[in-house]
Assembly symmetry: none
Homo-oligomer: 334 residues x 2
Amino acid sequence: MKKASIKDVAKLAGVSIATVSQVINNKQERFSEETIHKVMDARDELGYVANVAAKELKGSKSPLIGVIIPSFRLPFFADLIQSMQMHVPEHIDLVFMGATDENLEKSIYALVDRGVDALIFGRPIPKHAAVSQFLNKCGIPFLSLDQSVDLGAKDRVMVQEKQGGHLSAEHLVALGHKKIALLMADTMTDNMHQRERGFVETLTQHHLKPVARLQTALSKHGGLDVADAVIASGATAVFALNDEIAIGLIRGLYNQGVRVPADISVVGYDDTDYAEFTVPALTTVRQPVQQIGIAALNLIIKRLENLNRPQQMNMLDLQLIERESTGPAPGDRA
Amino acid sequence: MKKASIKDVAKLAGVSIATVSQVINNKQERFSEETIHKVMDARDELGYVANVAAKELKGSKSPLIGVIIPSFRLPFFADLIQSMQMHVPEHIDLVFMGATDENLEKSIYALVDRGVDALIFGRPIPKHAAVSQFLNKCGIPFLSLDQSVDLGAKDRVMVQEKQGGHLSAEHLVALGHKKIALLMADTMTDNMHQRERGFVETLTQHHLKPVARLQTALSKHGGLDVADAVIASGATAVFALNDEIAIGLIRGLYNQGVRVPADISVVGYDDTDYAEFTVPALTTVRQPVQQIGIAALNLIIKRLENLNRPQQMNMLDLQLIERESTGPAPGDRA
């Protein structure tokens, strides 16, 4: 796949290259809201990542950006990494490390030790005050990606997690469901708590509350294991906090002869690339994985150009993707 | 401001990059005093590998192993990486890079420049003679993982790919299938050719040949796109060269009202972690992903202890996992 150039962005936005350059580089004062929006939309649509640092660094070493994530196996992270890999400018080197709570500090040191120029954290940082202090002392900027908690990062890319829970609840309530179960992870990150909160608050607005809150492993096996408990809860609909759990649950329900969505509707979260291929295809809250990766690269590259620029935050929206795994509540059927 | 690269040091010292790498990494035996001094002086003058943070931390550095793969999105690689991440000893640092044919050499160079101690290649190397020569000169051992072609690596972990094709063919023939289609990737790696060969040779032994050989993208969408062509071929069974294609195909057949396995049986390849969750669950050739990761780590760590030990090769077996997507050929039913 060919990488988008600034020319492509200008063409799509119907403006000059100079305009694109200025808008993207935060010299927006002289442009109308409309122009700024056209340029930003074109940039996002094409996945363009500015190549600005290249000029300043030409002739010297490529900056190395380290990305630390919790697991390579969760498809959300596989998609995210692949998005960054596809959009990274030619002159930047990207390396990825997986880190558990236990070896996170060791992983950070390993990268700092090898002369990393910036870090992107796609996972929580347990002792974030100490880590933040250490990295500041080393002059290494870091960005937190998709984390609701403020980790002391200079720049943040966030997702409206609460809105995700809200969208899921509204969808199920609109379908007439009153008995709705919530499938949570054994270990809840702050992001997941936000999803939960948005979901429960929206149910409350409709004078409902979850008929069951079940916790299970954050995996397809976790979803499979909890199928019997979901059936026993009497729920006609389930919101699972990620697609993996939802896909495992659908298979578990199938094993018990329970039909999705005729008997039980299932909503997932992430819209990983399997969601449209399962039978039935999964209704889910789509995370803007491509945009998360692109926004993170854009912010960190600008940060490398100017360590002292003001803190930046990108807040990205979610979207409910309706497929086959949700339908009217059984009582509401003709 | 600008960081010096190993290239800059080589240029200033008037020696090759490989020489700089060896001198700096304490492999100085074969160089004259004069060369060593020139390199060290150039390094100091340019401030190369000035690493303040490291000194503040601990005495000795953990060895860094770089793993280069084609894509983070293919579940086979996500599983492989996760397996290595889980099994890596405490004292080793592992980083992962994705590399296309185009930026492979740049990725290798980026890691060598950061002082990587060993490399693992989970992808083909187009110009492997030159790469092998460069790494040998730098004194950096490398291992090739799951590649049928000899890349000049000191150590190799391989899988009996031909046996995989053989197992699939025997399974379908035993179920009475005579019209069998082969689903291949647009771009076939040597590994995939081995699978194809094992499959076709075994059919030949049974006086059969594929009714169709279809090529498509190595993805779920690739499998989906080719469903109509599979139906048109009149095949009662299909062997897809990876699970992704198989999963997409099953969904495509479902969209057309074709039943799996009643009308068409499907065999995949890899046994990625979705295979047991699809409806119907996928019959597939299981790759020993865990063992591949563990064997690679073991060999490369032994290699780091002794660069001159004899070349080692691990050859791993495959296994057919029979699930729900294969059944008797339609004509053979009661």
